[in-house]
Symmetry: C2
Subunit: 320 residues, 2 copies
C-alpha cells in the first residue's frame, strides 16, 4: 500500500507494508485523514508512538471497513466509519481496535468526518470525563482557533457553558467568537488581565496546550475547585508552582494525553461521542471546522501551515 | 459557657458567649473534642476560620444534642453524636449544621468518638471521593503516625489496599506497620528510595501534608494516572514542577482542604462515614488511635505535644 513515510525529515508518499489485523481489529480503507500537532512532534522524533502502535503518522481517519478480525462483533465489512487511531492514519489502510471506530455522521462527507475523531475525543475526555464539565461552567481555551479549540467552543455552547479563548491573531479571535465563544483575547501581555475581566471569580476549566509559559497565570485565573488540564507543552515544561494557592482554592492540575490510554478507555470515549455528540452533527448544531483540504501527497505542505500557525480549525489530507 | 480562648498566644479556659442556633443547626453539649494541626495554625493567626464559622478553635467533637433548630429533621434532643465542625469545638457548647453530626459508634466512649470526625472525614474525602481509591491500590502516607495517617492506614487495610508510610522516628514507623501498613521509612535522605523499592511502578495515591519539600520527589514516585493530594504545607509552598512528566504519566495534583467546603459536601462525606465506616468501628475492624487524653484545661499542653511531633495518633481534650 501507499503511505506517508518520513524521508530526510520530509513527509513523502511511498510504499509501506500492509498493517496486520489482530483478532479485535478492523481493517479500514482510508478515505481521508487529518493533521494533529502531535504528528509534527512525532516527525521530529519527539513523540514516539506507544508500544505496539504503527510507526506511520496519523491519529484519525474516515473510511470503509474492508475486513474484520475473528473476534469483532460491532462492525462489518462495508461500514462507513471514522476512527481514533494510535497511529497509521497517513496510509491507504489502517488496522485499529473495533471500538475505536464509530459510524460516520450521515450528513458529513469523508473529509469532514476525518476531521472529528481526535479533537472531539480529546475535548470529550478532558472537558467531561476529566473536567466534570457542568452547565454554566466557564471554560478557557488557549489556542482557541486550533482544531481542539474550535471543537471545544462548539461543545461548550451545545452543553450550555460559556467559553473564552486566547489566540495568535485578532482574525482568529473573531472567528472563535463567531463560532460561539463569549469572548477572546490576542496572545500577549494583557491576556490574563482580559481573562480576569471576563470572569472575575475565575474560570472552572482551562484546556491548555501551552504548559510552562502560562502555568502560574493559569492557576491564578482558576476558580475555586477549578481544573487546569495540561494537554500540550508548546510553551515549555519547567515552571514554578504555589501550592498554598492550589490547596486553599481546592484546585486540580491534570496531565492528560489520549494516545497512550487503554483501548478500554478509548472505547468509553468513542461510545460517548457516538451517543451524545454525533447526533449534534446530524442535527447541524455542531459543524466540522476545516481550514483546508489537501491531497495526501501534500502532507508536508499541510505540516508547514500548522507549523506557521496559519490554520483555523483542521487540516485534512484526502485520498480521494 | 466556658471555652478555650487565645490569651497572649496561650490556649486558656475562659468565659465565652453561647453559640447562636440557625434554623438548620443543632446545639451540642460537648463531652470531648480533639486537637488538629490546623488548630495550631489558627492559634498563630495563620488559618482564619471560614466566613460565618466560630472564632473558637476545634474542628470536631462528641456530645449530646441539647436543642435543635426549627428546620432540623434528622436529629433530636438527647441524641449521642460526633460532629465535624468548621470551628468551636473547644467549648462547652457548639452549634453546627445537623448533617455534620452523625450517631456516635455505639461501642466507643466519648473520648474515642471525638477523635474520629476530622481525620476520617479527611481520609474519606481525599482517598475515596477525590482519589477514587480502588482495591489493590498502593497508597503513600507522609506523617504516617499522625491522626490522618493512622486513620488512613486502617482504611486502606479495610478496603483491600496496601499502604506505606514516612514518619519522624523508627518507633512511629513500627507503630504504623503494626497497625496495618505494608512498610515504612524514617524521614530522611533515603526516604524516596525506600518508597521506590516498595513500589517500583509507583504509588497510586499520595496523601501529603508536607507540600513543597517533598513535591518533586512525590511526583517522581507517582504511578501512571497517580494522584498527589496536598492536604498541608508543613514543608513550604513554593516548588518547581516538571509538566512533561505530569502530562505523559497522566497524573493529577489535587489541592484539598475540608474546612471551607460547602455544608452540602460535608453532608455527603458524613453520610458515607456513617454508612460505610462507622460499622467497621462497631465490628472492631477499625479503632481510634489516641496518643493521650487531657482535660480541656490542658489544651495548651496538648498543643505543645503536637508542635514537638511527639504524638502517635490523636490528642483528645475531655470535658468529663
Amino acid at each position: 500500500m501507499k503511505a506517508i513515510q518520513i524521508i530526510e525529515n520530509q513527509a513523502s508518499l511511498a510504499e509501506a507494508e500492509m498493517p496486520k489485523l489482530r483478532p479485535n481489529d478492523i481493517l479500514i480503507k482510508i478515505k481521508s485523514t487529518a493533521v494533529n500537532r502531535a504528528d509534527l512532534a512525532q516527525k521530529n522524533g519527539l513523540y514516539p508512538p506507544p508500544p505496539g502502535a504503527s510507526e506511520i503518522l496519523g491519529l484519525e481517519c474516515s473510511g470503509i471497513v474492508k475486513s474484520i478480525g475473528e473476534n469483532v462483533t460491532s462492525r462489518k465489512v462495508g461500514d462507513e466509519v471514522c476512527a481514533l487511531l494510535a497511529g497509521g492514519g497517513y496510509a491507504e489502510y489502517v488496522a485499529c481496535p473495533e471500538f475505536q471506530a464509530i459510524p460516520k455522521p450521515k450528513n458529513l462527507n469523508w473529509e469532514e468526518a476525518s476531521a472529528l475523531p481526535e479533537v472531539y475525543a480529546t475535548c470529550w475526555l478532558n472537558l467531561f470525563l476529566e473536567g466534570g464539565l457542568q452547565s454554566n461552567n466557564k471554560i478557557l481555551f488557549h489556542a482557541g482557533a486550533s482544531g481542539i479549540g474550535t471543537a471545544g467552543i462548539q461543545l461548550c455552547k451545545a452543553f450550555d457553558c460559556e467559553s473564552f479563548v486566547s489566540a495568535g491573531t485578532q482574525e482568529k479571535v473573531d472567528f472563535c467568537i463567531a463560532l460561539g465563544a463569549s469572548g477572546g483575547t490576542v496572545r500577549g501581555d494583557n491576556m490574563f488581565e482580559e481573562i480576569n475581566n471576563w470572569s472575575p471569580n475565575g474560570v472552572d476549566i482551562i484546556l491548555d496546550p501551552v504548559g510552562a509559559n502560562y502555568f502560574e497565570d493559569n492557576l491564578k485565573c482558576l476558580a475555586l475547585e477549578g481544573k487546569l488540564i495540561i494537554i500540550g507543552l508548546m510553551g515549555g515544561i519547567e515552571s514554578n508552582i504555589n501550592l498554598g494557592h492550589l490547596m486553599m482554592k481546592r484546585q486540580k492540575i491534570i496531565g492528560s494525553t489520549i494516545r497512550a490510554r487503554s483501548e478500554e478507555h478509548k472505547k468509553i470515549i468513542m461510545q460517548d461521542l457516538h451517543k451524545k455528540v454525533w447526533p449534534l452533527f446530524e442535527s447541524g448544531n455542531l459543524k466540522p471546522i476545516i481550514h483546508k483540504i489537501l491531497p495526501i501527497d501534500d502532507a508536508e505542505k499541510a505540516h508547514k501551515i500548522m507549523e506557521d500557525n496559519l490554520n483555523i480549525g483542521k487540516l485534512v489530507l484526502s485520498f480521494n
